[in-house]
Symmetry: C2
Subunit: 317 residues, 2 copies
């Protein structure tokens, strides 16, 4: 494990990939890994990019990688795979994309599915970000389809969140409904050469006015045509602006502190779960569950008694 | 609380709505409520209905309510609101729909958003189902937009899951990607009068063949035009078939037992969280968090020590 960490810190991609697999499998080893990772100061700018399927996120991220690499910065990408929690695995597009940057030591791309991530995808994403951070990446991009509650939770991991929309098809209303208005730090109208681009711009402008009246940060609305590399520099500048903003206002500090509090709680619950698992292996457990099922005892009463038994009643508490 | 439970059992809608609010707010009161609810034997058939936005789920559920009411059965509906975790509240359409059945004492409809449900929407849904079950509903429908990890988790609460698709627009591939293939017990092609209906039918058929080769239950594919009340009786029959199937094969029993195990664990973690919250109010906690933030101590080591402190080292364990 010590060796694995060392290689990760040296930026070794295979070791980082292996570490992410450990996280995905949520094994006991994971906590040994995390224990080492907590030694490293976090410094990367974590960017979330979200939007409906087909909005052009992958291409946009691809262009952003080029831009960021052009400035000599290292970048790590976690592409959250919305595919099945059962079949698992990355989408074909991601695999192809990964190959584009396979020879560049300054780019690390990894798809993460929901398979095996027992603790939830948002938690696994946060842990994977720690690995990418330890690798020495300056920028970490989390890319996900912007639908559903867990996707919103994933975006909470990011320092700066980009919501990608397309002209036409009532995208702004969908975004509003899906809760994307509140998490967006930057709006991107991609495929902005399509008809309806200006209309969408005004719709978003209106929604920002409505929802962000008291906000310190008003999300800029950028237009991009990622297939033609248009607007990418502007996006990167806007991202840097936002990062400076949250650093200056102490927002980043506060968020990182909250993250640590959350992580501490999660580890405590993990330890507790470990104790529950032990208890579940007892014969007594099987008997009790049968009794609960046949309504001979109340589930809640059993929980109370078991808790006392598992933790013991401490004095002076 | 005792009185609230009594009213719920008598089928009082306002009391049920109040109880669901208690669950949504995840307050201490909630566990008192659950404690009482665990007294009641579960008997309702829990139906999940999922599909992309605009697939016609709401209308389909509306027609299904009519069908089920026509047989004198009581029905409860939980419409999961995919809207913002920040703005909260139900969509307008749901409010309108609720009014359609407001005067029927045998129909209870409630929207649930993600706002305030700290423990996750799937957990809150499961708890709300307990309330609807205690009300004496014969059928409980959970309706949700079929995208995202948490929506799949919500569908795990259901005994029988219906995936609603529409002809055209590559719905079958999207469904496959989103993991809906694995959770579907019944497929419904709604708006089946639209072009491409037969094509979609064959696509789903092929996907079922590919993914369900070893499955005991092969999901039927039904065609409906819910706006014209077509195929609704067939859907209700298919749902009853599936429920009989899982009862006969012992699948329902096994699922319910697993649910109880999960619920027991969740309550144990809730008790533990309560203890963590107490600890977080100490001055010591603030000092430790500052030290973690400034990397003077390792988060993981603190977690270990804190756990020992919180639970005490029990002998013979």
């Amino acid at each position: 494990m010590e060796q694995l960490i060392q290689k990760i810190v040296q930026g070794d991609k295979r070791s980082a990939a292996k570490a992410i697999s450990i996280i995905e499998n949520d094994s006991q080893e994971k906590y040994e890994l995390l224990q080492h990772l907590y030694r490293f100061q976090r410094k990367a700018h974590i960017i979330g990019i979200t939007g409906a399927p087909g909005a052009g996120k992958s291409t946009l991220v691809d262009r952003l990688i080029q831009e960021i690499r052009g400035q000599g910065l290292k970048i790590g990408v976690i592409a959250i795979d919305p595919s099945s929690p059962f079949s698992g695995g990355a989408l074909l597009g991601d695999r192809v994309r990964m190959q584009n940057h396979a020879t560049d030591p300054g780019v690390f791309i990894r798809s993460m599915g929901s398979r095996g991530t027992l603790g939830g995808l948002a938690k696994a994403t946060k842990e994977a970000v720690r690995i990418l951070d330890a690798m020495g990446n300056d920028v970490i991009v989390i890319e996900t389809v912007g639908v559903g509650q867990s996707e919103l939770e994933i975006m909470n991991v990011a320092d700066s969140t980009v919501v990608v929309l397309n002209p036409g098809a009532g995208d702004s209303i969908q975004a509003f409904k899906a809760g994307l208005m509140e998490i967006a730090d930057i709006f991107v109208i991609n495929k902005s050469d399509l008809p309806g681009s200006q209309k969408l711009y005004h719709e978003i402008e209106l929604l920002i006015e409505m929802t962000k009246q008291q906000a310190l940060w008003k999300p800029p609305i950028l237009k991009t045509i990622s297939t033609e590399h248009q607007g990418i520099i502007e996006l990167w500048m806007a991202l840097q602006n936002h990062f400076s903003f949250i650093k200056e206002k102490g927002i980043l500090d506060r968020q990182r502190k909250q993250d640590l509090e959350k992580e501490l709680e999660e580890i405590l619950h993990h330890f507790f779960q470990h104790r529950i698992e032990k208890w579940k292996k007892s014969d007594f457990y099987q008997i009790v569950m049968e009794k609960i099922y046949h309504q001979e005892v109340n589930l809640f009463d059993v929980a109370k008694q078991t808790f006392e038994q598992l933790i013991g009643e401490k004095k002076n508490r």
